[in-house]
């Protein structure tokens, strides 16, 4: 019997090693698995490479990981948020390496990691300093930049409902990076607002099939930041 449900956040994030590459979903705080990130913080893991769209807001979630000095490098598209003071402090102190990637290229590199594509050519960033040092090649007379796949040792994602097989649904724009990051890690852990019975999600409405999910933990909305 397949049952990917675990009963605690600590169990959900157990076994992650120092130095891991961690994909953190969400766009701003919407769709961000903030309780899982806090639980990861509480394991004491360090020297992380984080892949996320942003670089944390306020003092919770990713901001807390950065503020506690657990993140060695962040690969993101937009570190400027409403309140990025943890990122700013670490970045200015030279304690945090930043790899800035165009948002669509970031998403596509993660998808490539999940899809068994080693690398791809895109026009995005050609002719800009972001492409410095990258291979550029002409297709249809236009310069294209070679971008390589990103995979995570761990992905932390957040969904609305999930069943014991790990089938997930998302709500509105909380979907964002969650489906693509779910595909691209050796260990994918989802927090869901509620568990639902196996078979209660219409097969046509499953957003992330359970094959991409390894562990699932319930964090009711009322308890969520």
């Amino acid at each position: 019997m397949i049952d990917k449900r675990v009963s605690s956040l600590a169990e959900a994030v157990s076994g992650v090693k120092d130095g891991a590459t961690v994909l953190l979903a969400g766009f701003g705080s919407v769709g961000e698995p903030v309780e899982l990130i806090e639980a990861l913080h509480d394991t004491g893991v360090r020297d992380l490479v984080v892949v996320a769209n942003n670089a944390g807001l306020g003092d919770t979630g990713l901001a807390r990981l950065i503020g506690s000095g657990r993140v060695r490098k962040i690969i993101c598209s937009f570190p400027r948020t409403a309140d990025p003071h943890c990122f700013d402090a670490a970045y200015r102190a030279g304690k945090l390496e930043l790899e800035l990637v165009p948002q669509g290229t970031l998403s596509e590199r993660i998808r490539a990691g999940g899809a068994g594509i080693a690398a791809f050519y895109t026009r995005v960033s050609a002719g800009t300093e972001v492409a410095n040092g990258k291979e550029v090649r002409q297709f249809a007379g236009q310069p294209h930049v070679l971008e390589e796949a990103i995979r995570g040792d761990l992905a932390l994602i957040r969904a609305e409902t999930g069943d014991r097989w790990g089938n997930l649904t998302y709500r509105l724009s909380a979907r964002n990076f969650n489906p693509v990051m779910a595909m691209a890690a050796d260990l994918t852990v989802a927090q869901v607002s509620q568990f639902v019975e196996l078979g209660s999600i219409d097969p046509d409405h499953v957003h992330t099939p359970g094959i991409f999910v390894d562990r699932i933990v319930a964090v009711p909305r009322s308890h969520s930041a």
């Binding site: 937009f78 948020t81 669509g104 596509e108 998808r111 800009t128």
Partner: protein, 224 residues
């Protein structure tokens, strides 16, 4: 001379969006555009986080915590709206499916080069977001910006001094003083605010401006 307000710049850009257009609005000034689409047109607004059919901001207290746009503002969805995941949102951008994107900018060059993600301020962490993807992927790139910086330096320049977002991508520019196209010959003014002389506009611009034969008046209604 009557300089347009930010809302009036947005109003003017909105008038050029045709019925049925799929449009992405960049963060900042462009987000105002959705307020001014003529009522008889259906324009579908796309956001990088997977929203198609962004509607007006919700009434206070009616916000849905799961429904925001790329600028992290709470939004509504119009009838016919749809959600896709982030990757498909950028398939839409990079794959050429957007008719138009309206972006903010620090600088635009006479070649249509766009600089809108980093300045020369080393204490200001740069943020790419989806700007490079949009500048390359949308069928047409239009820019909304103040004609000059706060201290009076031109934002329309011969060559961008800030890092590029993309080269040769901007086709039309809406400022508080003029509407300009970027042509093979450089900037061409299409409309200018009443009371502004060609010489005065040129003096505020960092590259030569041509003037369209039918160059007209840039006017917008009074807006709150």
């Amino acid at each position: 001379m009557i300089s347009l307000t930010r809302r009036q710049i947005a109003w003017r850009a909105a008038q050029d969006l045709p019925d049925g257009a799929y449009v992405n609005l960049g963060i900042g000034l462009p987000t105002l555009v959705s307020n001014f689409v003529p009522a008889d047109r259906e324009v579908v607004f796309h956001a990088e986080n997977g929203v198609l059919g962004q509607g007006p901001a919700p009434a206070p207290g009616e916000e849905d915590p799961d429904l925001i746009n790329a600028g992290r503002g709470f939004i509504t969805l119009v009838r016919g709206g749809a959600i896709v995941h982030h990757n498909d949102a950028f398939v839409i951008i990079r794959g050429g499916h957007l008719d138009c994107t309206l972006l903010g900018a620090f600088q635009v060059s006479a070649l249509g080069d766009l600089a809108n993600w980093a300045t020369d301020d080393p204490t200001f962490p740069p943020g790419l977001g989806g700007a490079m993807d949009l500048a390359v992927g949308a069928k047409e790139v239009r820019v909304l910006l103040e004609h000059t910086t706060k201290d009076g330096r031109p934002r329309l320049v011969e060559r961008c001094t800030y890092p590029l977002t993309a080269a040769r991508c901007v086709k039309r520019i809406y400022t508080n003083l003029a509407v300009l196209d970027v042509t093979d010959g450089g900037f061409m003014a299409r409309e200018m605010v009443p009371g502004l002389s060609r010489e005065a506009l040129q003096a505020k611009t960092g590259a030569p401006i041509a003037f369209a034969a039918d160059c007209g008046l840039l006017k917008a209604p009074a807006l709150d």
